[in-house]
Structures are given as structure tokens and as C-alpha cells.
Amino acid sequence: MSIANGARIVKESFTNMSRNRVLTVTSIFTVFITLLIIGIFGLFLLNISYNATALDELLDVKIFLVPEADVYTINDLNETLNRDEKINKVEYISQEQAYEATKELFDDDMESLGLGADFLPASFVITLKDYDQVDYVVDIYRQYPSVYKVTYHKESFDFTSNYSKWIKNISGVLGGILAILAVLLISNTIRLTLYSRKDEVIIMKFIGATEGRIKIPFIIEGGLIGFFGAIISFIVTGFVYVRVYNMFMNSSGDELFLTGLKIAPLQETLLMVFVGFIVLGVTLGVAGSLFAIRKHLRV
């Protein structure tokens, strides 16, 4: 296809869009809202996972061993833990290591208190792949005879799994519904174009235009609708994120800073949002056109 030809096809798409202006604008608006919602929830999730390291320690599960546990039992348990699909990371902390760590904490006062190295039990510190599974995992290992007790910070687990699950669910459902709505609206717009260009399509068909040549202007039209929707939602999302980011950065010393929360870096995040929006927007648009023309444009 020559450049002149390509330019003409794009021009055709623009002409189509200006022909049903109201529907085109509505469709662009739907893409905009869809991406905005997906984007804002997405940024929220991104920053949660960005901050997850801060929560890490609270999400450890500690398995304390009975003092009588011998090397073989400990090795067996270590292997079992490592093989467990639900467990992400396993770390063994011997009595000595536990003693040293505590000593640091108490400024070497331990000995004066008459507490020896065997005062603290050995333990495994594990992290889970899925925080939802904590009760299940704890119940299993609690029953091992060599296990003295299993501890974890229940509130942190509840917080983490509940909140991120809710955000994921809400943004997933809302984003999904809106995406379907956007596709339907776009396909409606394209169908109207199709109708207003019925004669042209018939002429093209009988002149011997290929199916691709007949379809391309409609697909481009859908793609453009998605593209413009993506641009607008990027501008709005970007604006909001810059505001929040600056608020974060200027808040050193006050409460926000003291929480230890961090915010994902500006440039990388915006670039990611931009690329994500364009890809998603154009995909929605093209999906909408394909949906509209699926049956109508057979040669």
C-alpha cells in the first residue's frame, strides 16, 4: 500500500468520525472513563505492591521448634517446607542465631541476666506465596511433633489479603463492565458509520475491493476512538498522579512521611500508564469495530 493510499484511508476514517459526531464523542468518553477507572485502581495496586516490602516483616510466619528436636528432624522439616507449594521462602534460625539477635536488642545484658544460648528455641521463618492461605499452612505445621508453636501477625495478614483482594476485585469487575460497555458503544458507532456508508461498501465490493481494503477504514476508526480516549484519560490520570506525587514528596517530616509509605517513581509510572492506556484503548476500539463488522463486510 502506498503512502498516498494509506493517507486516504486514514482520512476516510476521520470523515466517518465527523459524520456521527455525537456517537463518536460518546464512545471516546466511554473509553476515557474505562481507562480512568482501570488506571486509578491500577496505580493504587501498583503503589501497594511497591510498599509491600514495608509490610514484609509483619507477614512472616515463625515456626518454633521444640528444644529436643535433633538435626535429622530439623532437616526433614526443612525439606518439607521447601517442597511446600504454598511457601515462598524458608529461613532457618538456630538457637545461637536467635540468641545473638536478641543480645543485640538488649545491649548484651542477657548474660548478666543469667540466660544462656539455649534459652531461645530454634525456628523456621517462612513467607507465603498467597497470604490467604496462612490459616491452612499454620494448621498443618502446628501438628508436627517437633514444632513447639507457630506464630504470625494475624491482623497484618487479614489487612493485606482483604484489602488487595478487594481492590483487585472491584477494579477487575468495574473495569470489565466498563470495557464491555466501551466495546459495545464503539461497535454501535461503527455500525452507524457502516450504515451511512452502505452504498460505498456495496460499490467497493462489486468493484473488486479486497475484504481487508473494505474493512480497514472501519477498524482504523475504532482504533482512533480508542486512541483518543486513551490520550484523554492519560492526561487526567497523569495530572492526578503528579498532584499526589508532589504531595508525597513535599510532606517530609509530617505524618505521611512518618508512616514509612513510599510512592512509585513519577516518570516510570507515567510511561507505564501511557503505554498501557494506548494499548488498552486501541485494543478496545479495534475490538469494537471488529464486533460491528464481523458479519456485514463479507465480499
Binding site: S2, A4, D199, E200, I203, F206, I207, G208, A209, E211
Partner: protein
């Protein structure tokens, strides 16, 4: 070259529009298809353009098997035929020149050839003077001439027209049918479905008469009775 062999067309709603027809139209012939309303003329024409496919039997057009043809071959097949519609179907926002040009652009003819071909085509249909007029500035007859120029733009072997003079007055109709005659003399096979007796009687060409989906008469120098 058109071959219909034992062709029956039954529409989805059960209407049997064509009943076991066999017709052969050799290359270069000028043929009228006539018959009362509902006799199946348009259905026959649609099967030639492959807008419809036969329910039973075989149809071969310009060497293409209308039932066996692959989807990707259809555009190539369509370039070997030219189609004229009763309602003309010019693009209202394009001039006469641009409407003809459109057919060439769509099939990927290059700029230089387009600029040579379009004036030539407009000359054949006698519209050189009106190249820059928009359809609503042209009479019905002139519009149909533009449509004819467009139909022959890609040099088809076969030209099919369904009621090409259906919306025109008798004098204009004669002009159009004579133009079709001239296009036929240049080597193009022409098939015209019509119930316009004036043009049929004027041409003294082959006339196939349909009635209730069947061929009831086929004369080499036919008359519309």
C-alpha cells in the same frame, strides 16, 4: 462466458425464485433477460455477480466456479465483471471524475494510469465536459453514464446490469442502451435484466424470457412482446 447448469435458487424464506434453469451465454454476446415482475431476473443477475449462490446446480462465470470459489478469490473475480445498478449508486460527495477514479484506486491502479484512464473512460460514455460535476448536478442519464464508466474502469470481460434504465425516461434509456451496445462492440459481454420493452426492441439482440423462475423463451433476435 456464463454457464448456468440445472440451477435452482431457493431463498431462506422458502421462495423458489429460479427453478432448474440451464443457460449458456458465450463471450462477447449481448443478452437481455426479461420477464414479469417476480419472475427471477434480479435473482439470476445476483447469481452472476455472486451476491447470491445457487441452492442446486452449477454456475460458472468467466471461468470461476461460483460454488467452489475461495473467499480470497472473490475480489479478483469481481474485477472481471462490471456491475450497474438500477439506483446508480454514485458517491454523492465525489465528482464524476472522482467516482470513476474511485474504482481504480480501490483496485490499486497507480496515479499515472488513473490520470490517463479516467478521461478516456469519461470520453467513452460521452461525459468529458462534465468531469467535475457532482452527481446532484447531473441528470439521471448522465449519472448512469458515470456509473457505466465506473463499471468498465477495470476492463471487465462481462458487464451485468439490473434495470439500468429503470429510473430513466425512454429517450435517455435509448442513449444508455446504445452506449451498452457500443461497450459490447468493444468486446465486453453484456447482460441486461429489464422490463423496458423500448430498449429490448431497439437492440434486436438475444432475449431470454423468464416466467416464474423458468426460461419460457430464448430468441437470438428477440422482441419484447
Amino acid at each position: 462466458m456464463i454457464i448456468f447448469k440445472d440451477v435452482t435458487k431457493v431463498y431462506k424464506n422458502g421462495t423458489e425464485a429460479i427453478k432448474n434453469i440451464s443457460i449458456a451465454i458465450p463471450k462477447g454476446q449481448f443478452t437481455f433477460i426479461i420477464g414479469p415482475s417476480g419472475s427471477g431476473k434480479s435473482t439470476l443477475v445476483k447469481m452472476i455477480m455472486r451476491e447470491e449462490v445457487p441452492t442446486y446446480g452449477e454456475v460458472f462465470i468467466n471461468g470461476y466456479d461460483m460454488l467452489g470459489i475461495k473467499r480470497h478469490q472473490i475480489p479478483t473475480f469481481r474485477r472481471s465483471i462490471g456491475v450497474v445498478f438500477q439506483d446508480i449508486k454514485l458517491l454523492p460527495n465525489k465528482t464524476a471524475f472522482e467516482n470513476v477514479e474511485f474504482a481504480l484506486q480501490i483496485t490499486g491502479v497507480n496515479r499515472r494510469d488513473i490520470n490517463k484512464l479516467v478521461p478516456h473512460l469519461l470520453k467513452i460514455v460521452g461525459l468529458s465536459q462534465r468531469a467535475n460535476a457532482y452527481p446532484d448536478e447531473l441528470s439521471g442519464g448522465e449519472q448512469q453514464r458515470v456509473a457505466l464508466a465506473r463499471a468498465i474502469a477495470n476492463g471487465p470481460d462481462l458487464l451485468v446490469a439490473d434495470e439500468p434504465t429503470g429510473n430513466l425516461d425512454p429517450r435517455t434509456s435509448i442513449g444508455i442502451i446504445e452506449l451498452l451496445g457500443r461497450i459490447n462492440k468493444m468486446g465486453t459481454t453484456v447482460v441486461v435484466a429489464t422490463h423496458d420493452s423500448t430498449i429490448v426492441n431497439r437492440m434486436k439482440k438475444r432475449v431470454i424470457v423468464l416466467d416464474e423462475g423458468q426460461v419460457v423463451d430464448d430468441q437470438m433476435k428477440g422482441q419484447y412482446i
